[in-house]
């Protein structure tokens, strides 16, 4: 049986890769994908901890996180479409309306 620590380390790896991707990318769609990846990593950690603790609460929380992530994806992509219509670009360096 695989120890739970290995699941948690895989989850930490996915989370770090997602965070590095957020720092790396300049395109809003790619950035958003990396955030989704980080949410997935957190879900894996929740499910693994649920098995470690011996109850189902972590899985319920993971289900709620998936629901929130779906809602976030829908609203975020709507915002992306609005930004693209208004600015004509998805590059984060071009988005400076709140800067001044």
């Amino acid at each position: 049986m695989v120890p739970v620590q290995h699941y948690l380390i895989v989850s930490a790896l996915l989370f770090s890769i997602g965070a590095a991707g957020v720092l790396l990318h300049r395109n809003l769609v790619s950035l958003f994908l990396c955030v989704e990846l980080m949410l997935n990593a957190v879900n894996l950690a929740l499910v693994a901890s649920s098995r470690w603790a011996g109850n189902l609460e972590g899985q319920v929380l993971a289900l709620l996180v998936i629901i929130v992530a779906a809602a976030e994806a829908v609203v975020g992509l709507g915002i992306l479409i609005a930004v693209y219509r208004g600015r004509g670009s998805l590059d984060v360096d071009d988005q400076n309306l709140l800067r001044y």
Partner: protein
Amino acid sequence: MESVVFYCLSGVSVAMAVLVAASRRPIYAVLALVGCSCALAGLYALLGATLLAAVQILFYAGAVGILFLIVTVLLDARSETSSQMRYRGLHWGAALLGLILFGLITRAVLEETRAPSVSSIDATRGSVVAMGYLILTDYPLPFLASAVLILAALVGATWLARR
């Protein structure tokens, strides 16, 4: 046997995650995210969370993946070119910060889970019946709140995308 499946699935998911983070074209990143979600669903099934595995495939690989794909195609999100060139050392900086984050999380995880696990896998079978019972008896409020959240997201997305 279980460990072989685990290492295969986690290898696939990490490779797909690297593709998500490293690919210049968003369309490849979307496809890699779908693959990563499928591998993660396999990991959930291995952990006994069968309902979550199904939901992961339905929501992430299905709904969210298709949504991202449609938006990527609609918006003509080209590969990053000009502004990427402005930051030469960005790759190494991002990789270094990711490594530091990974080290910190791993250290915390190994410290926190030093005590042996008490559970057997049968106690945490996340079947539909067990999960549904737990949600509808112990956690009805978050369940209803998520329904309201989805409705709000639906209305908000429709309002944002009109015009």
